[in-house]
Subunit: 389 residues, 2 copies
């Protein structure tokens, strides 16, 4: 049975050219990029090539790119790094209720160290109101951290508007753009942010590899203290094999994006339309237009998302029930609850995210297989029977 | 010209079997280990296999192993994690003057957050005195962090004795064993430590991959906050490709160590003897017996280590002038100064570290090439001429 992989927000398969570059690197180069002998310099060149490729993807200067072990480290670095660097100026940080756990839990840790957090509500689409951000800024606010695109409902936030407000009040602004960079066009200069987090495995690069954009002059303390790597901003021997993959993936994302976007958009529309047509009592989550092109979040009433996911797996279809990082627990998604969804409906949510290898036939298979599964599960649901009597 | 690589403390070339396993993984498996569908579970199995392999190398239980992005992250995690977890109990940490920068700079950051650090002196061999550790313990001491083997002089510290003292006073004990694990036998149960840091690229695994041993029950707050990976101890999508490499490298280290050790020891002895015989006015640093089997630190008077390194590079020989992470600056090593070496002599230090591919012929090449280079440089040194008039 062919596997239909529809969980590209959790992990993307490596692009064949990424594989090729990583394997070639594994077979040819070693040495520590900080070493001054020629073997070290060779490794250093590989590193700087990757840095240039990532910088090009988001319109940054290469020296504004700090490599990390992925989106989570980037986010932790940005938030905790600003908090420590500006601890004398103030201790308040503004965020929203629909951020990724890496943001929310970084802030939880900072609370233990006497920082305060203002967490903003979102509307039913998951949008943060720029006016609410401005209203929340106080004298002691040192940082605003808001995501560019939500990883569970796909809503794209008005980051450019909020960045202007942050700049006006001289507050550092970080955007967690992990689920956006490499999927949609992202330009740090256009957005006007100070810090931006990204991860390779969202755009066909390897897992556990990422970067943090740090605009020149932004005060950020290191998260990983130690040696002089990354211009003293992130210590530790670099994951060169992974960074080669990140660089090539960034290059391909930049070059192939014009072709990838309409492909993804078409699959998304086909699935959304089909779901509406074939399954009653559903809700599509997130903003209808300001949203990621490859994500469909659907809440199917009177069923458990976990059961749907497992039954789809038996048909060779891989989907998520909520954000990958929240999986493993059966609690409802904090994002869906924040958009006003009731707990029971949130529990019946499936998250489809498409990739470059997916086809219309994949969508059609889902649309063939899912409705009978839903029907079968609903027939076992006491609540469904009660309502439909 | 054949390259003779003698900087295995900075980075080791991948073991052929590590390469093979990583390439096979790149070509076959993807998916997010936290996902519940079968593709995710397949990735999860790969992860747990690597965990078992690392646990076996140091005699830990697999659930005591937390994967990290390398030695630096492991050390940061251990030190900052205990500091935050035990902040209500006390704020003093004991360490030594010869630790790696990842330890020293983690402590520098904690000082900003109102922690206090006691840094112990070492003797001329670089040994920490267990009695001095015991004397330094106060009511508010929450952590002792001392390295197992020094990365610049190779001296192996009396960790077992110090662990007993830490246990007696109920102080958490972390050992930075990055330069020891995979090179010499390390057994966490025998050592009696609570926390131990290790890195793959010391034993023919990939760079940017490591682990932290956390003994069951040890209070440690996460360094990377976010999702539920690593049993909630380290968030972030795992670097699976790298971890496959770490696992296989750990397995090979365990199996091949009995053969590797005498090989390295013989090369070290050959080089040490040859240096004594052929170059006057040198000093071999570190403890003569309690030391790493593959490292020779030699201070050559009246010359600059940097010049020696560059001239050896021209002959195809890669060596370090000091710890890889301290390279890039011309300051003298804090380790050598701490052992009582004068600044000028410390500047003339070369660090040879052998690996499994090195041969006696490599050593002989160094012994042929180095003496005339030293002689040439000394003849240009005003200090040398003055003394030898």
């Amino acid at each position: 049975m062919k596997t239909i992989y529809l969980d590209h927000l959790a992990a993307t398969p490596l692009h064949p050219k990424v594989k090729e570059a990583m394997i070639q690197h594994i077979n040819t180069i070693y040495g520590n990029p900080v070493a001054d002998y020629s073997l070290g310099q060779q490794a250093g060149q590989v590193l700087e090539q990757a840095r240039l490729q990532v910088a090009d993807l988001i319109n940054a200067d290469p020296n504004e790119i700090v490599f990390t072990s992925g989106g989570t480290e980037s986010v932790n670095h940005a938030i905790k790094g600003v908090a420590i660097a500006l601890r004398e100026r103030g201790r308040r940080i503004i965020t929203s209720n629909i951020e990724h756990k890496s943001v929310l839990n970084s802030l939880r840790t900072l609370r233990l160290l006497d920082y305060q957090v203002t967490s903003l509500d979102v509307d039913n689409y998951g949008l943060v109101d720029p006016a609410a951000v401005e209203k929340a800024i106080t004298q002691d606010t040192i940082l605003i951290s808001l995501m560019l695109a939500n990883n569970e409902i796909g809503t794209i936030e008005p980051i450019r508007d909020i960045a202007k407000i942050a700049q006006k009040h001289q507050v550092v602004f970080h955007t967690d753009a992990v689920d956006a960079v490499g999927v949609i066009p992202v330009d740090v200069k256009d957005l006007g942010v100070n810090l931006l987090s990204l991860a390779a495995n969202i755009f066909y690069g390897p897992p556990g590899v990422g970067a943090l954009y740090i605009k020149k002059g932004t005060p950020v303390w290191p998260l990983l203290d130690g040696g002089m790597q990354e211009n003293k901003r992130r210590a530790g021997t670099e994951n060169l094999i992974g960074l080669v993959g990140l660089g090539v993936a960034a290059d391909l994302a930049r070059l192939e994006m014009p072709a990838r976007l309409p492909h993804l958009q078409a699959l998304k529309e086909r699935l959304t339309r089909g779901l509406w047509e074939r399954i009653p009592d559903i809700q599509i989550n997130g903003h209808p237009n300001q949203c990621l092109p490859h994500l469909v979040s659907v809440s199917i009433k009177y069923v458990e998302g976990e059961s749907l996911m497992l039954m789809l797996d038996e048909e060779g279809i891989c989907v998520a029930t909520r954000s990958a990082c929240a999986s493993g627990s059966l609690r409802a998604s904090h994002v869906l609850i924040a958009t006003g969804l009731d707990f029971a409906t949130a529990q019946g949510t499936l998250l489809f995210s498409f990739g470059r290898d997916n086809t219309e036939a994949d969508v059609d298979k889902v649309l063939d297989v899912l409705p009978p599964i839903v029907q079968k599960l609903r027939e076992m649901s006491p609540l469904y029977k009660k309502i439909n009597l």
